[in-house]
C-alpha cells in the first residue's frame, strides 16, 4: 500500500456470476483485499449509472463492476446493456476529466474465483497508485 493510503473500493457484482465468483473464491480459500466492499445487484444491467456516480462523489476511491460473460447472463442481455452503460459513464467522466480510470468493468464467471480475487486485488492496487479520489473530499459537490 503506497504511503499507507487505504483506498475505499466499491465492487458491484451481479448476483448470478459476480457473487458466484466470490463464493468460489472463498471455497478455494482465496482472500481479496479487505478495503473492497461488495455491493450485490440482481443484474449489472439493472445498475443505474447514478448509483456509481453517487459512490464516486460520496466516498469511493474506485468502483468496479463485474457481471457474467457475454452469453451467460441469466437475463440474456443484462451484461451487454451494463457494458454500454459503464462505457457511456466512462466517456462522460473522461470528457469532464473526473477520473474515468477509477471505474472498471470486467466479466467474471461463476467458477472464476481466482479471476475475481485477482481483479479485486489488481483494481485495489491500481487505485492505491492513483491516490484518493479528489471528488470525495470536496464539500461543494
Amino acid at each position: 500500500m503506497s504511503n499507507g493510503f487505504e483506498p475505499k473500493i466499491l465492487y458491484i457484482l451481479c448476483s448470478w456470476c459476480g457473487t458466484g465468483g466470490a463464493e468460489t473464491a472463498s471455497a478455494h480459500g482465496l482472500r481479496y483485499p479487505e478495503n473492497v466492499r461488495i455491493y450485490r445487484v440482481n443484474c449489472t444491467g439493472s445498475l443505474p449509472a447514478v448509483h456509481v456516480l453517487r459512490a464516486l462523489v460520496e466516498g469511493a476511491d474506485g468502483v468496479a463492476v463485474s457481471g457474467c460473460h457475454p452469453g451467460d447472463c441469466h437475463f440474456e442481455t443484462g451484461n451487454y446493456h451494463a457494458r454500454r452503460r459503464v462505457a457511456n459513464l466512462k466517456t462522460i467522466l473522461n470528457t469532464l476529466d473526473l477520473g474515468d480510470d477509477r471505474l472498471w468493468f470486467r466479466f467474471v464467471a461463476h467458477g472464476e474465483g481466482r479471476r475475481f480475487v485477482d481483479t479485486a486485488t489488481e483494481f485495489s492496487d491500481h487505485i492505491a497508485e492513483l491516490g484518493p479520489n479528489p471528488l470525495t473530499a470536496r464539500r461543494d459537490t
Partner: protein
C-alpha cells in the same frame, strides 16, 4: 438532388406561412403548430391553429427559441393527435422530436414535420429585455452575420436537412424564391396534394450547405477544445458549477428530459437528518442544496446520448452557466462512442436499447493471467 420551388417574394417566412395556409384550407392537414408573437411582443409562444386567418400573425421562424418545439410537441402529441397536424420546427427541434418518438413519448405518425435552414437564434434573456434590439440582431443572423447568435448556435453543424417531412432550403437563395425538399413519402404526398412539382435542381444549395457545415464543424471542434480546458477536472468543473442553485430549470426546459418526476427530485435522493449530518461531518461541511455535481453528471448519464444541443437549458439558466456547451461537449463524446447522432433518423435505434455481441473491446480492463502483485508485495 431535386426539390420543388415556390415563389417567396417577401422571403421564406412568408413562403412557409403560404404553404401552411394552403395546407389548412385544402384540408391536407387538420391543424398547424406554429410559433406566434405574444401580445406583449417580447417573446413567442406555440399556437395550435385551425383557422388559417390566424396564420398571418404567426412567425414560422421566430428570432428566439422560447419553448423548445419538441417540448411543445411532447405536451401536445403524447397520446397521439386527432387528424394530421403540421408543425414548423427548427432542425434541432425536429431532431429532439425524433428522439422523443424513439423514446415512445411522441406519436410521430400523426405529425407533418416542416423545417427550414436555421440561421441560429438570439439569446432568450437578451431578447426578452429588449425585443427591438433582438429583432435587429435576428435580421443580421438572416443575412449571415453570426455574431449576435447564441454561443451554441454559432457552433451548430446540423443546421440543415433534419429528418423532417418537408424542408425549406433557404441557405444562399435570395432571388425571391424558396425551394422545398421532401424528406419522406408523407412529405412528397403533401407536395403532390398541393400540386407543387419537384423538378428544380438544388445542387447549388447542397454545396452551400456542405461548405457551411464544414466551417461549423471546424468551429465546434475549436470551441469544445477551449471549453474542455476551462471546465475539465474537479476544481474547474465545480468552479463553473459554483453558481448553480439547483433550481433544475435546465432539466425542465430540456425536450429530452421527459420524466414526469425527475429522479433528483424524488424520495430516492431524500435523506434523513442523521445521514445528512454524517455526510457533512465526513467532509467538514456540505453545500446546500446538495447533489449539484451528481445532478448535472447524473442527468448527462441519463440523456446525453439523446442531446441535440438545442441550447434551451443555457437560455433558461438564471446563473448564466454554460450548460448547453457543457452538455453538447459530453453529448458529442458519448454519441461518437456509439457512432450515433441524436435525432438523425427515426429508424436508428437508441444506443441504450441495442448492443452488439462483441463491442467495446478496450472497455474491459485487460486481464493478466494471474495477478500476484498483492501477495508478492505483502
Amino acid at each position: 438532388m431535386n426539390g420543388a420551388t415556390v415563389a417567396a417574394p417577401e422571403g421564406v417566412q412568408q413562403a412557409i406561412t403560404e404553404l401552411l395556409k394552403r395546407g389548412l384550407d385544402e384540408k391536407v392537414f387538420g391543424a398547424v403548430l406554429v410559433p406566434a408573437r405574444v401580445p406583449a411582443g417580447d417573446s413567442f409562444a406555440w399556437l395550435l391553429v385551425r383557422d388559417s386567418a390566424v396564420l398571418d400573425e404567426a412567425q414560422p421562424l421566430p428570432p428566439v427559441m422560447s419553448v423548445q418545439g419538441a417540448r411543445a410537441i411532447y405536451r401536445f402529441a403524447r397520446r397521439g393527435v386527432t387528424g394530421k397536424v403540421a408543425a414548423v420546427l427548427r432542425p434541432c427541434e425536429v431532431r429532439a422530436t425524433v428522439e422523443l418518438a424513439k423514446l415512445k413519448q411522441v406519436e410521430i405518425d400523426g405529425l407533418v414535420l416542416i423545417s427550414m435552414d436555421c440561421p441560429g437564434a438570439v439569446p432568450l434573456k437578451a431578447y426578452v429585455d429588449d425585443p427591438q434590439q433582438g429583432d435587429a440582431d435576428f435580421e443580421k443572423l438572416l443575412n449571415g452575420d453570426q455574431t449576435p447568435a447564441r454561443d451554441i448556435c454559432k457552433v451548430c453543424h446540423l443546421f440543415s436537412r433534419p429528418a423532417s417531412d418537408l424542408h425549406f432550403a433557404t441557405l444562399g437563395s435570395d432571388n425571391g424564391q424558396a425551394s422545398i425538399v421532401a424528406g419522406s413519402d408523407q412529405g412528397r404526398a403533401v407536395l403532390k396534394k398541393l400540386g407543387i412539382a419537384e423538378e428544380s435542381s438544388l445542387d447549388a444549395w447542397e454545396r452551400a450547405v456542405a461548405e457551411r457545415q464544414e466551417q461549423r464543424q471546424q468551429a465546434r471542434a475549436e470551441a469544445q477544445a477551449t471549453l474542455r480546458q476551462k471546465i475539465a477536472g474537479p476544481d474547474k468543473l465545480l468552479e463553473t458549477l459554483s453558481q448553480c442553485i439547483n433550481c433544475h430549470v435546465c432539466r425542465s426546459v430540456c425536450p429530452i428530459c421527459y420524466c414526469r418526476q425527475c429522479y433528483f427530485e424524488s424520495q430516492a435522493v431524500l435523506m434523513p437528518p442523521e445521514n445528512i449530518l454524517a455526510r457533512a461531518r465526513r467532509k467538514g461541511g456540505m453545500r446546500l442544496p446538495t447533489d449539484t455535481l451528481l445532478f448535472h453528471v447524473g442527468r448527462m448519464s441519463h440523456m446525453s446520448l439523446s442531446c441535440v444541443s438545442c441550447g434551451a437549458c443555457e437560455d433558461a439558466c438564471p446563473s448564466s452557466i454554460p450548460v448547453a456547451q457543457l452538455f453538447s461537449l459530453v453529448g458529442d463524446a458519448t454519441q461518437k462512442q456509439f457512432d450515433y447522432v441524436a435525432g438523425r433518423s427515426v429508424t436508428e435505434p437508441l444506443p441504450t436499447i441495442t448492443y452488439k455481441e462483441d463491442e467495446l473491446p478496450d472497455l474491459v480492463a485487460p486481464y493478466v493471467e494471474t495477478y500476484s502483485g498483492r501477495e508478492a508485495a505483502s
